[in-house]
Symmetry: C2
Subunit: 207 residues, 2 copies
């Protein structure tokens, strides 16, 4: 199948090779799936294929970052920041918009969010100035935030980012918490790793 590797050599011509290349660049789509999707886009109704192209263009033109929390939105301000029932004094800090979505899906958080746009990662050349950290500090002071819930990923870099932010806010009168760690609900102790069990033991709660 070596002939399918280079765009210009696709048997249908360069446009199809280009499309296969573009599809294969998407996460989780391999060369074979890309070829299959391209076949579908060639064989389906023209309106269906062009509607997908239009939908991609529309999201890139219409969806922006919320100027307050940096969540994604099509409006001037995001749905959550606009919602007057949400408590603006409790802010959950997350790395990416998708993290916000999974926390929001639980339905247990009633405050606002702040999307950093990543995490501090010296190896990838991402420093504090590349993230929405200064905006968070301004927001804390302006909104009179009384609690920051760190919802960064439980990784070395996620924890490091949370620690950096909590140091920045050390002199502000704001309580800083983080998501609880322990054993996952519905999991089996036998397969829990050492860090998970150690977290669960250290954070043990009254029954």
């Amino acid at each position: 199948m070596a002939r399918f590797q280079v765009a210009a050599q696709h048997p249908y011509g360069p446009s199809v090779g280009q499309l296969v290349d573009r599809l294969a660049a998407l996460p989780g789509i391999g060369r074979k799936s890309a070829e299959r999707l391209a076949q579908h886009l060639l064989g389906c109704d023209e309106a269906e294929a062009l509607a997908l192209a239009q939908a991609i263009q529309d999201v890139r033109h219409n969806v922006k970052h919320c100027p307050n929390c940096f969540n994604l939105t099509e409006d001037a301000e995001c749905e959550i920041c606009r919602d007057s029932r949400r408590d603006p004094q409790v802010v959950c800090v997350v790395e990416q918009p998708k993290d916000l979505l999974v926390i929001e899906a639980t339905g247990v958080f009633q405050g606002q969010y702040h999307v950093l746009g990543g995490r501090i990662s010296p190896l990838s050349g991402v420093g504090p100035d590349d993230l929405n950290i200064a905006a968070l500090v301004r927001r804390v002071r302006k909104q009179g935030v009384r609690e920051i819930v760190m919802g960064t990923n439980p990784t070395l870099e996620g924890d490091g980012t949370a620690l950096y932010i909590s140091n920045l806010l050390a002199d502000d009168n704001v309580r800083i918490t983080r998501l609880a760690r322990g054993i996952a609900s519905g999991s089996v102790l036998e397969f829990a790793n050492r860090e998970m069990l150690a977290d669960a033991m250290k954070g043990r709660q009254a029954f």
Copy 2:
């Protein structure tokens, strides 16, 4: 996750809901993958996302059916029909362009192809007139074809389509063959089904 089922209710707004719907309509892409792909298309470089949209539009505008064999091509005639080293007197009949590609990838066929655009399927309302069958008959007579290799799928409908075509050409001086059936190279006899083994026994060859 019920809130993600209806486009208008996507938390980022209707454009993202629309994109997720369009992606989930692709074969082999479920709701969760569609949501993940939409997140990627929102988060990647704008140029990368718009290039994918452009590639979809380009294939629909540039790729046409070859007027001779109905394969897909960006040129006036497809690569295979243009190739003077291919034998125009031996034509392999396939249902879809993708079937042509897999046969072509074996590298053992030196003739031309004819893409029917489907198979006769009364239950789906597809009759002989909906396929490129009349064009095949004209081509057989015009090109002086001496062999038709039936490369339709080894299913009831694929076999029926091949039988219909061979009846149409009964009075023409053309040899009609079909792809050999038997056990798959590299497979294990123990897991071969009855039809496969029966085909292999009936078609046994000198060693």
